[in-house]
């Protein structure tokens, strides 16, 4: 008879081992899989609030000091601004995840992998191979479809890959919610590299416009990555159908593409640009995504516990 082993730690388990789908668990990892980890969600919401406060702080500084930076100081200020949202998240995450923090090295590595994939593949594919900037604006339909099929799928697949082909199979990925944690880290890495590229390619940016754009990119990339992360988290610990992961990446890509399109539409006002509309949209989308993921995860955990009690 085939020996039953825990799908997380791969240690043998008894005949009466607990199961999710057709996967076996030792007692320790079964308890972990369904853990709530409120700190993860609190750090997500705190990140949104903190990024908005940071935008407000920059706005106040600009209004009072009216800085006139040029050249290298402007470039360096832009680069620091590009890194701030990721640092804020790391700080909140580790402050609120004291009970069982994810290994810092793993989270950092996934963050760096997300950034590396953005730089090595994400940006070159979208900008240089597909050259979306040349044809996306041709019509509304082309804009929507191109944003989903090219920008959405390239970005969301790379963030998914940063988790799936690194930490996903390790024993540190031992809770459903870890999918959201690591995918958010990958999304933040991806966003940070997009922001650095934006600052460097413009040789520094207008502080107000730059800060808003950095905040919007960060909130959007982290939230859409969280969607793939939710699907990854459930795929590892439950017996989901083959289409489950493709569905997760597709939902994230469609939302990413639609967001890209809508943001472009609402920030253009005639011949001028109003970036605040984009920030409002990104904040609403990020908040709704995290709340939706929180309830979905909670529901999955409750169902699992109810099944365990019924068994």
């Amino acid at each position: 008879m085939e020996q039953k082993i825990c799908c997380v730690c791969h240690k043998p388990v008894g005949e009466d081992a607990k199961t999710l789908g057709r996967r076996f668990y030792c007692d320790e990892h079964y308890a972990k899989v369904t853990r709530e980890r409120k700190g993860v969600w609190q750090s997500g919401i705190a990140e949104i609030v903190a990024v908005l406060l940071f935008v407000a702080l920059i706005e106040v500084i600009i209004s009072i000091a009216k800085p006139t930076l040029t050249g290298t100081p402007l470039l360096l200020t832009g680069l620091v601004m590009a890194l701030v949202p990721a640092v804020i998240w790391m700080v909140f995450f580790y402050r609120q995840d004291r009970l069982e923090p994810e290994p810092k090295v793993y989270v950092l590595e996934v963050f760096l992998l997300g950034a590396l994939l953005a730089s090595a593949l994400g940006i070159p594919l979208v900008r240089d191979l597909f050259r979306v900037q040349d044809w996306l604006g041709q019509s509304t339909l082309t804009n929507i479809l191109g944003s989903i099929l090219v920008i959405g799928f390239v970005q969301e697949f790379l963030k998914y890959a940063a988790v799936r082909y690194s930490v996903y199979l390790s024993t540190e990925f031992d809770e459903r919610v870890d999918g959201v944690v690591y995918a958010t880290a990958a999304g933040l890495g991806f966003a940070t590299m997009l922001n650095i590229n934006y600052v460097v390619s413009n040789a520094g940016v207008d502080l107000r416009m730059g800060m808003i754009r950095i905040a919007v990119t960060t909130l959007a990339q982290a939230s859409f990555a969280g969607i793939s992360g939710y699907f990854l988290g459930r795929a590892k610990f439950e017996e989901e159908p083959v289409w489950w992961l493709p569905l997760g990446v597709t939902i994230a890509a469609v939302l990413n593409g639609l967001f890209t399109f809508v943001r472009g539409e609402i920030t253009r006002v005639g011949l001028t640009v109003n970036p605040w509309n984009g920030l409002i949209l990104a904040t609403v989308v990020a908040a709704l995504t995290f709340i939706a993921l929180y309830y979905l995860m909670r529901r999955a955990n409750k169902l699992t516990l109810a099944q365990a009690q019924g068994a």
């Binding site: 799908c7 730690c9 791969h10 793993y106 590595e109 597909f130 050259r131 979306v132 900037q133 040349d134 044809w135 996306l136 604006g137 041709q138 082309t142 479809l145 191109g146 989903i148 099929l149 090219v150 959405g152 799928f153 390239v154 697949f157 998914y160 799936r164 690194s166 930490v167 996903y168 199979l169 390790s170 024993t171 540190e172 990925f173 795929a235 017996e239 989901e240 083959v242 289409w243 489950w244 992961l245 493709p246 990446v249 597709t250 890509a253």
Partner: protein, 196 residues
């Protein structure tokens, strides 16, 4: 990076491949959309000439030419197509008159541009008839009138031919790095023009 990795079950492996498959299909569809968008054209008629220029390009009806269209997304210097009609010297052979016409255009361009250099003037076939083709280069010192930028090296190409008893010059101007790609599309633009 990860330790104690577990063996992947066949179902998980299929799920992985399914994700890759979905992404490849999406990108292929995206590529088809890109090709379709890039090949989409708009029509414009003026003085008996109908051209089909790339959708998304800007038409300048006040430039004093039969047609002038430019690509707003082609960087500092906008890739530009120009169609103009010129008077032909009737006292000499058609090819000699076209060569003289191209040389005259070249001379006047040399007076209005920086570092102008005519590369070559050849006899070629376009639209099923003999034509004269001139290639040249110059430096656009202020490609963006609204901000300070570095000058751009511009490559140009003129096709001069006679059709319906009138001489036409079709011109392509593009920044040097974009010229090779632009040339193919420009020839298609030239061949698809309808002249009454």
């Amino acid at each position: 990076m990860a330790n104690n990795k577990k063996k992947v079950s066949p179902r998980d492996r299929w799920a992985d491949w399914a994700v890759v498959g979905v992404v490849i299909v999406a990108l292929l569809l995206g590529w088809a959309l890109k090709v379709s968008a890039e090949n989409k054209t708009l029509s414009y008629s003026n003085e008996g000439v109908t051209v089909h220029y790339p959708a998304g390009w800007l038409l300048d009806e006040k430039a004093g030419f039969i047609v002038k269209v430019s690509d707003p997304n082609s960087g500092l210097f906008r890739t530009t197509y120009i169609v103009q009609q010129e008077l032909l010297d009737t006292g000499v052979s058609e090819m000699a008159a076209l060569t003289s016409l191209v040389n005259n255009v070249s001379l006047s361009r040399a007076q209005t541009t920086t570092a102008y250099k005519l590369f070559q003037v050849d006899e070629v076939q376009v639209r099923g008839k003999s034509a004269v083709k001139a290639t040249y280069v110059y430096v656009e010192t202020k490609p963006d009138p609204f901000r300070e930028t570095v000058p751009v090296v511009v490559e140009g190409m003129d096709y001069a031919f006679v059709e319906g008893g009138k001489a036409y010059i079709f011109t392509l101007l593009a920044a040097e790095p974009d010229f090779a790609v632009a040339e193919g599309r420009f020839v298609a633009f030239l061949e698809s023009a309808e002249i009454r």
